[in-house]
């Protein structure tokens, strides 16, 4: 169990529908793209409503932790460009190709935020949030000659990560497209 880093928490305990999503919308609107919101609620209807709300508004529902009668919902504010990934790094593999490669024990870097990684990641994936990649490049240099696969949610952040790694001399870097948003294989959760 590792604690989840959030940028903001709102308290909707005791509030009934539709107030939890009304407050969620207001909070998300005030936050910056990429930030994670925690919503505390006791309305059991909020469990399904949060997912539907996120699906419709394009924000990312990360997951819900249930503690007795308390529901802790985690939502990440999407960046506008995430809905359609802009790919510039030339070496890409599909989710299916990655699934086959994983059997060979390849290196997989997951460059999403820690909260995203915590709720669902591919077993064996190494968590290196994009924002920390530069600082951790030295530690990763031992992998420079090995095939390295990089994944995020939609292929956008991983595209940037691939370019950074290639610039640092990594010889076999592959961007996994589309990424976790469409991953059908097994995942594990560390919260």
């Amino acid at each position: 169990m590792s604690p989840i880093r959030v940028n903001r928490t709102i308290d909707c305990q005791g509030l009934s529908c539709p107030m939890p999503i009304v407050r969620t919308k207001k909070a998300i609107y005030e936050m910056a793209a990429g930030q994670v919101l925690e919503v505390l609620a006791t309305d059991p209807g909020s469990v399904a409503d949060m997912k539907s709300w996120a699906h419709r508004t394009g924000h990312q529902f990360l997951g819900t932790l249930t503690e007795g009668k308390l529901f802790r919902h985690f939502i990440r504010k999407s960046r506008p460009e995430e809905t359609r990934a802009e790919q510039r790094f030339p070496h890409v593999v599909t989710n299916e190709e990655l699934a086959r490669k994983l059997a060979d024990g390849v290196v997989l870097l997951d460059v999403r935020e820690p909260a995203e990684y915590a709720f669902a990641h591919i077993p064996g994936a190494i968590s290196v949030p994009l924002g920390e990649l530069e600082a951790r490049a030295v530690e990763l240099e031992v992998l420079a000659d090995r095939p390295v696969y990089v994944i995020c949610r939609t292929g956008s952040r991983s595209d940037t990560a691939c370019q950074m790694l290639a610039d640092r001399g990594f010889k076999q870097v592959y961007n996994v497209v589309p990424g976790m948003c469409d991953w059908q294989g097994p995942t594990e959760r560390t919260v």
């Binding site: 009934s16 999503i21 009304v22 709300w53």
Partner: protein
């Protein structure tokens, strides 16, 4: 979602339960980034009257509902109307019914527009969802 949804609601009945049905769907839709308009007509106009808090009840013999609303901490109608207005829900009062009932726009809370059937239809023609209460 890039394409914004549009929800058109007709409120033609009075009573506290109708007020909740209408405003709950409206505020939830607005929270989901939909464009929402409510057309208040006939008894539905009571929902947006300034004296709505006193006028909207569940009717005789239905007092247990009031306890239930309180127990479930359901927001007051006035609060839902504020949320609706703040999130851009368009409130349209039906001119024809107002004339019949002898009401003017001053009988309603602030922010209500007055219009006819065409005003609502102009919005509803392009709606993805239409609900009537």
């Amino acid at each position: 979602m890039s394409n914004q949804r549009r929800v058109a609601i007709i409120a033609s009945q009075g009573g506290l339960d109708t007020a909740y049905k209408v405003l709950n769907i409206a505020t939830a839709a607005a929270a989901m980034d939909a464009e929402v308009a409510i057309f208040f007509t006939f008894e539905g106009l009571s929902i947006i009257r300034k004296d709505a808090a006193a006028a909207l009840t569940m009717g005789p013999g239905q007092e247990h509902w009031m306890e239930g609303f309180k127990r479930a901490n359901v927001p007051a109608i006035a609060e839902l109307l504020e949320v609706a207005k703040a999130s851009g829900v368009k409130l349209i009062g039906c001119q024809m019914t107002m004339d019949v009932m002898g009401l003017t726009v001053d009988d309603f809370i602030d922010g209500v527009e007055v219009g006819g059937a065409a005003t609502f239809l102009d919005f509803a023609y392009d709606a993805d969802v239409t609900v009537t209460f």
